[in-house]
């Protein structure tokens, strides 16, 4: 296990180091698919320059990182490449966590196996054998570290990699069972980009399950723990925000970071669903549709938490995927994060008829993005509709990718019923609508 992992690390580092030194790095860091206005390195440099001059970095309309991030880079700007090279390895923690999680569950699985006569035959296939599970951490690491999306994002020095690392650490701490650290890291992730707020529910559900506290609104133990966890979370969020205020001496960053995320003023094309819509829209509908679009990220938390309350880890995966599809400035780095989790559900793949089709669609879209961008921006022969069509297809593929494991989960012994298809059709329709 250690040897292949080391080999993997060396390969991953080599690829990144080579790309950093090649002329491609500059090209990649300009691609709209890889960097967004939120996390472009160019903007971080601009913010740093402003900070050094004693001007508030938020005084222009260029810089949208959080204050903690800029102070982090204030000290490490000379080592930026190393920071970006290292950040993906935090996600490696994921592999360890999944290992620990799965080994803990093996016994339960084996219990299922003993009682297998109670389950239909196909369920047996869903119970992972220890040998398969042994490789899951390696697979997760491989899916993340060698994923071209991660590599591109890392080479472009998009700060998305750091956000991913924070989320990965959060998941790691959660699965390790440390409520305090998990709350703090969740607060940090929320502070970075708001949307991880929705991960609160799955984390809470996980701890409840772990502590054998039933989800029952009338039980005091439930409320006790919920309040405890919420207090850790909100408390650290307040501390972090306060810290930013004291570092910067003003509240400028609130509109500049969170206002920017929520009101989507920058309509540079990206792989998300927002830009085309809001570029086409009449101004007086803007507020309404911003609410409609933003609610997508948060709304699914409720039905999913109800349906998946027995499977909080899977819920975390679903939430991360939904965030990356519906967030206002998505990049391929966000996509890479939830894709890294896919191998963890590999036992569900044998029921996935269309996984091959979906991967083909995602692959083709990734190739078509730069081509259509070239035709639109440089050659002037295509237009934004071409590019947006591919964006839609890409998001459709992503939606399909996450819906499939979800619907297939119904067959799992832990089981859930047909109502999930309501969610499925609602996500699908909303992506069709947009």
């Amino acid at each position: 296990m250690a040897a292949p992992l080391t080999l993997l690390l060396i390969v991953a580092v080599t690829i990144r180091a080579v790309l950093f030194r090649s002329s491609l790095a500059e090209l990649i860091s300009e691609r709209v698919e890889v960097v967004s206005p939120l996390n472009a390195w160019k903007r971080v440099v601009e913010g740093l320059a402003l900070l050094d001059l004693g001007v508030s970095p938020y005084s222009g309309d260029v810089f949208h990182e959080t204050p903690l991030m800029i102070y982090l880079f204030h000290f490490t700007v000379d080592y930026a490449e190393i920071v970006f090279m290292v950040s993906p390895y935090f996600v490696d923690c994921l592999s360890c966590l999944l290992a620990s999680l799965d080994r803990a569950k093996i016994f339960r699985k084996q219990k299922y196996a003993l009682e297998s006569d109670r389950y239909p035959a196909d369920c047996l296939e869903l119970l992972r054998s220890p040998k398969e599970m042994f490789y899951i951490p390696l697979k997760v690491a491989m899916f993340y570290l060698l994923n071209p999306f991660t590599i591109l994002s890392c080479v472009a020095k998009s700060t998305c990699g750091l956000n991913n690392a924070i989320i990965a650490l959060f998941i790691f701490c959660t699965l390790k069972g440390s409520a305090l650290l998990s709350g703090i890291l969740l607060a940090l992730a929320t502070y970075q980009s708001i949307y991880p707020l929705t991960l609160f529910a799955p984390a809470l559900l996980f701890f409840l399950q772990r502590l054998y506290i039933p989800v029952n609104l009338r039980r005091s133990s439930f409320w006790c723990f919920t309040l405890q966890y919420a207090f850790i979370y909100v408390g650290s969020l307040v501390v972090i925000t306060g810290l930013s205020f004291f570092l910067l001496g003003s509240w400028d960053f609130i509109p500049s970071v969170y206002g920017f995320i929520f009101s989507v003023p920058d309509l540079t094309p990206n792989i998300g669903l927002f830009w085309y819509f809001f570029a086409e829209m009449f101004e007086h509908f803007r507020l309404f549709f911003i609410c409609v679009f933003q609610i997508n990220v948060f709304f699914y938390t409720i039905p999913l938490s109800i349906k998946l309350k027995e499977h909080p880890v899977f819920l975390i995966f679903m939430q991360i995927a939904i965030i990356s599809i519906f967030k206002s400035y998505p990049t391929v780095g966000d996509v890479a994060l939830y894709m890294a989790f896919l191998p963890a559900w590999s036992h569900l793949y044998r029921f996935l008829r269309n996984i091959f089709l979906v991967s083909c669609v995602l692959l083709a879209c990734s190739a078509l993005f730069p081509v259509l961008w070239h035709l639109w921006i440089y050659a002037g022969s295509a237009n934004s509709n071409f590019y947006y069509a591919i964006t839609l297809l890409f998001n459709f593929g992503q939606t399909f990718l996450i819906i499939r494991p979800l619907t297939r989960r119904r067959k799992h012994p832990g089981g859930f019923d047909n109502e999930v298809s309501c969610f499925k059709s609602s996500v699908w329709k909303s992506s069709l609508k947009s």
């Binding site: 398969e132 590999s346 008829r353 091959f356 083909c360 081509v371 070239h374 002037g380 022969s381």
Partner: protein
Amino acid sequence: MGLLSDPNRRKALTNLLTRLNAPICMVCYLAAIVWFMGLAFEPFTLRTYMSENAMGSTMVEERFSSGERALSLAKEFDAHKRKAGGMPVEWLVKAMQARGLEVFTQSFSRKLPFPDENKERYMVRGTNVYGILRAPRAPRTEALVITAPCSPGNSDNQAVGLLLALAQYFRNQIFWAKDIIFLVNEHDLIGMQAWLEGYHHTNITGMEYSPLQGRAGSIQAALSLELSSDVITSLDLILEGLNGQLPNLDLANLFYAFCQKLGVLCTIQGKLQRNDWDTAEGYTHAAQTMMLMVLKQACGRSWGDHGLFLRYHIEAASIRGINGFRHYKMDVATIGRLLEGMVRKLNNLLERLHQSYFFYLLPSLSRFVSIGYYMPAFGLLAVILLLRVSFPGLDHFTFFNPSGPGVLTVLTPVVISHLTGVALYLLPVHLQEMAVEHFPVSETEAVVLTAVAIYTAGLALPHNTQRLLSGEGTEQGWKVLKLTALLYLAVLLGCTALINFSLGFVLAVTLVPITASMTPHMPKALSALAMVLLSPAFTILYCVFIYQELIEAPVSVGEGWMLFLSVISQGILDHALYGSLVYPLLALFIYPCWLMFWNILFWS
């Protein structure tokens, strides 16, 4: 959706696709060819029409009449050109200044990666001269360009003469709303490249040039003029630019409209339009014209000086005067009037040309095939690849199955093929000195022959090394490799066809049949021969022969071979000089992809 999620219907569909896979593929291929050939049939094509309102009908009379002056200027230019042995910079500057233009010069130099034997140049040094006629009526934010080349020998003198006469005439008009730049460029495309890079402050090809001293606004359109005789019988319009990019169809429409108005014979691909579409000859004629356009577009080079403008989002076309054996001759004044009309219409533009089509094929000047009509032909070919992908892909757990073939079995041939491709891309130019030292060849021959040698060596290399590295191949192994290669080819051809339809289609026509049917169980010798005959290099060879056949200058096998070699050297040069993408595409992607199929054939 319902079709895919209902297991029974899905099963029926899958069964149908698996059982009838080969016949469906064959039908698709034939349908694609028939569809494509049908595009030239007149009832299936649309009549061209002017989409841009600003260039619609206006009651304007073209008054340019100084044809005689243009000819005398041409003679003078010729004399000074001979005396200077190149661009007569001083004379031209004076001549332009005398006509009231702001005149500037730009010098440039470029060392070619290896000598260009077609044009006999290696170290290129030259000067561009351009004069700007400032618009009296508007802020100087937009410009039009008229160019004429200063070519060696007797050619294109009349173009420069006409350019100067037009400048003088335009100077006296008051209705110009855009600056007009009159550019005389030396060393055809190299000079044009230097000027455009200087104008846009870019340097993408490593050319050395002096910065431009005077600039006008953003260039909206450009016309390039090639005129080598005092009288002409017809005008030929050239549209194909770098990487197969085409200008907006409205530019062609504009040219056609003025030719009709002034009664000038106009051709495209050197072919006159015929009216008898319902006869076999009429159809063949249209098909030939369209095929010529496809071949020219596919080769990705700029076929006139206008070709480089297109990269900067400037609509441009070349107009070439042809003096053939016809009775009806026109003088230079008529061409001057035609240009005057076109420039005045372009002057009326309120925004860049964008209304009409950018993706089209022209079976004649008055008929066009738009992207919606020709894409299905390519789509039918791409469907074959997808059908073949779905065929092995249906047992879809090959990727996720732990007992399936290791990543290494697939990765090794892929990596080796691509390394061969990289060698094909890098080595010919870098090894030329060594080759010249050891073999009695010139540099150009060295480059081309190295390329051919690496290409041939690649056929021997991959499958042997792969066997050494990963041992015996398994049945699963080649299936996964084929799946990967088919997907790769489909994505590759799809992207190519979007950027340059003709190239994508030509490659698809030759690559799809053999790649779709490739398995290791076919008779080795026969299928190896078929594969080689349908390989990318042979595709180029066929294109050379077909092209020669279509321009009615058929060549023998030996001449064809020499032409083939020169086409390769031109391709490499175009890539180095102007950034044409065909050579890197073929070397780095198409050839390795083809090698992957070659691997499958010799899988054991």
